[in-house]
């Protein structure tokens, strides 16, 4: 009962955050709502038993990448967006259509073999979740090459950002 309640609260928060993200006028409000979405998703990862990923999501994504976004918004002094009326067609036909499409997707997903997995207890990982140790063993043995490749990727991104930000002298 408690997992269901937690799931619905976090799902609601995530969807609300996403809606505020695309509806808000000020970019700073969008950034804060994206942080809210990420925190809600972190709780969902905890519900799914992925503790390390939840912590990494908060430390790296919500705590560093979004801080970068907030910095850039503050530095560029990004003002409000211009208000436009979204096309009438989008409002009248788009929203109901999207809702029905969503219902269809939910229906087919819940009927499929994939969707019924946890309900059957088929993928019965222990409720304790995945341990950090197991994840790190997989990361450093089976996935060592992608790990090193992403570290080179980060190095390239670092150098790129450095060069781009340098003033021409």
């Amino acid at each position: 009962m408690v997992p269901f309640f937690l799931f619905f609260v976090c799902a609601l928060l995530a969807v609300a955050g996403a809606i505020v993200l695309i509806v808000a006028w000020e970019p700073i409000h969008s950034a804060l709502s994206l942080v809210l979405v990420m925190m809600a998703l972190a709780v969902l990862y905890l519900l799914l038993g992925a503790e390390f990923i939840a912590a990494v999501q908060i430390i790296v994504y919500a705590g560093a990448v979004m801080v970068l976004f907030v910095f850039v918004i503050m530095l560029l002094n990004a003002g409000s967006e211009e208000r436009t009326n979204w096309s009438k067609l989008a409002k009248v036909a788009g929203l109901p259509l999207a809702f029905f499409f969503l219902l269809a997707v939910a229906h087919f997903l819940s009927r499929s073999a994939v969707g019924a997995n946890i309900a059957n207890g088929a993928g019965a990982v222990s409720n304790a979740g995945v341990s950090t140790r197991a994840l790190s063993v997989a990361l450093f043995q089976q996935y060592l090459f992608p790990f090193e490749a992403t570290s080179i990727l980060i190095l390239i991104a670092l150098l790129g950002a450095l060069i781009l930000a340098r003033k021409d002298e």
């Binding site: 799931f7 969902l44 999501q57």
Partner: protein, 102 residues
């Protein structure tokens, strides 16, 4: 103790992905577009973690790890580019960066 079916997580992931896509298509401020892209990446992460739990495998989680890393790298470089464009164009409106149409 009841457990939540995977399809619930997948539907949530689809909703978030769709909202992110709406944001990318309809918004004008380039930073907001960027954030909508991050929202899409987050939705995909949720789907990965849900599947990892369903199939009882670690590979989904490792992939999420890499997606987060790549998103961080992309945000860094992308925001540096945004800063440079804004210094040139003096505006964050995506529709003003249409120099190729001169």
């Amino acid at each position: 103790m009841s457990v939540i079916p995977v399809s619930y997580y997948l539907v949530l992931s689809a909703v978030l992905f769709g909202l992110g896509m709406v944001g990318v298509v309809f918004k004008r401020n380039i930073i907001t577009i960027f954030m909508s892209i991050e929202l899409m990446l987050n939705a995909v992460n949720l789907a990965f973690v849900a599947f990892a739990r369903a199939h009882n495998q670690l590979d989904g989680l490792v992939f999420v790890f890499f997606v987060i890393v790549v998103a961080a790298a992309e945000a860094a470089v992308g925001l540096a580019i945004v800063i440079m464009i804004t210094q040139n164009r003096q505006s964050l409106n995506v529709e003003r960066a249409n120099l190729l149409k001169f």
